[in-house]
Amino acid sequence: MMDEKTLKQRVAQTVLTQKFPEMVGIEPVVETGPAESQLRALRRRRAFVTDEDISNVPIEHKLTYHRPETADQPFDRTVVVITDEAGTPQLVIESK
């Protein structure tokens, strides 16, 4: 599995510098686990989901960047980048 430092660098290069440069330099919270959307789909299809089912769900990384409200920015902002196991960004989530 990709190490955390490389993952953060990759997300910073591929997403943050282009879309959210103000978030570069913010330390993200990194969570790794089964892809949530696929886990949901699995639970919708089956009443009972085993540990084996869950272990077959691909891994995803979720990096959460939070920038509190400041004098320059009148409200706080959150950006979440979801990548696949290899660290390739899949979704970008942005607070309104």
Partner: protein, 350 residues
């Protein structure tokens, strides 16, 4: 301590006496609410009063940015029996008419009167004037959703350039003023919001960097607007965060006081979801929820509460993030209301 059952309309109203049970914020109160709906075949639930009277359910917020003990405030969470930690699945059309605090029930009575008038008229009669307000950065997603209100995008503006802080050098062409807001129309808002301040902002980015956040709508301006028969769809963060607020500290409550029969907004932060190549991803995120909701209400003439319930269920199929968007989205208004008039032939069921 029983909810009031109105068999003629399949509607359950949650009066003040029911509040102490809901205030316990326990799973037992959820089960009881769901059971009441099932037992009475209730499709609609109208909650009377604000958070101080009938509290929102506090669902623990498990997102990494949440402060310890922070919760997602939700009405629809009371009325699901098949949901799970990973999927919110409301089963009743829920709406809330908040009270106005120390106004001796004035706001509540006004909302009930408005709602009764609209029902007698066969639904809310709109005059066709609409307004859409979006940040410059979210204009693609906003325009796509607004087309469900008006396919020619008449009355659609981005901020900047529209804004109250007029600066010709920065390209602001026109000020937003109270007269621009539609009376008996639809107001669509996709701007930045704040958890405590009654203010919505636009946003502009240059080379990716946010360069300014002009104020678009604040309390002073909202108090000048005639919201009579205007339905508000607000995607902003904390758009319907009415807890601990009054008509002088919340734009949502102010809009209701000024005559809005329905306000759709979130009690918490909202999230858009896009693909990394910046293409708009309308199948997920708050944009998808509103797009579906507006489609149901405007083009299919669904009742407001049903449309909201349907949008939340539909949202689950493509939800790629946490439950905040679905749980927090709230209808402040009568869940049985609908738009009047016929579905336009060229727009219906498209």
């Amino acid at each position: 301590m029983r909810p009031v059952w109105m068999p003629a309309s399949n509607c359950l109203t949650m009066p003040f006496l029911f509040a102490p049970l809901m205030a316990t914020n326990r799973m037992s109160s959820r089960r009881l609410c769901a059971t009441w709906c099932h037992a009475n075949g209730a499709k609609y639930v109208l909650i009377l009063g604000g958070d101080n009277i009938v509290p929102f359910f506090r669902v623990p917020d498990r997102t990494p940015v949440a402060a310890p003990g922070q919760a997602i405030l939700s009405d629809s969470y009371y009325f699901e029996s098949h949901g799970s930690d990973l999927s919110h699945w409301p089963e009743a059309a829920v709406g809330r008419m908040p009270d106005g605090g120390d106004d001796v029930g004035e706001l509540l009575v006004a909302q009930l009167g408005r709602s009764a008038r609209a029902h007698r008229a066969g639904g809310l009669q709109l005059n066709g004037g609409n307004l859409g307000l979006s940040t410059h950065t979210w204009q693609v997603a906003s325009a796509s959703t607004y087309k469900r209100i008006d396919k020619f995008k008449k009355g659609f503006f981005t901020s900047p350039p529209i804004g109250r802080a007029l600066s010709p050098a920065a390209g602001v062409k026109r000020l937003l003023d109270a007269a621009m807001l539609p009376k008996a129309g639809i107001l669509f808002v996709n701007l930045h919001g704040h958890h405590a301040q009654p203010l919505w902002w636009g946003e502009q980015r240059v080379a990716g960097f946010p360069v300014r956040w002009p104020s678009v709508l604040d309390l002073k301006l909202a108090q000048q607007i005639d919201f009579t028969d205007t339905v508000v769809f607000c995607e902003a963060c904390h758009g319907a965060a009415i807890h601990r607020h009054t008509t002088t500290s919340s734009l949502a409550l102010c809009a209701l006081k000024q005559g809005a029969p329905a306000f759709f907004g979130s009690t918490v932060a909202t999230y858009s979801i896009t693909s990394p190549d910046a293409a708009v991803h309308l199948e997920a995120g708050i944009d998808a929820l509103f797009s579906h909701l507006i489609d149901q209400i405007v083009r299919r003439r669904a009742r407001f509460g049903e449309a909201l319930c349907d949008a939340k269920q539909y949202y689950q199929f493509d939800n790629a993030f946490d439950e905040k968007n679905g749980l927090g989205l709230t209808l402040l208004g009568d869940p049985m209301l609908r738009l009047g008039g016929r579905v336009p032939v060229d727009e219906g069921h498209g």
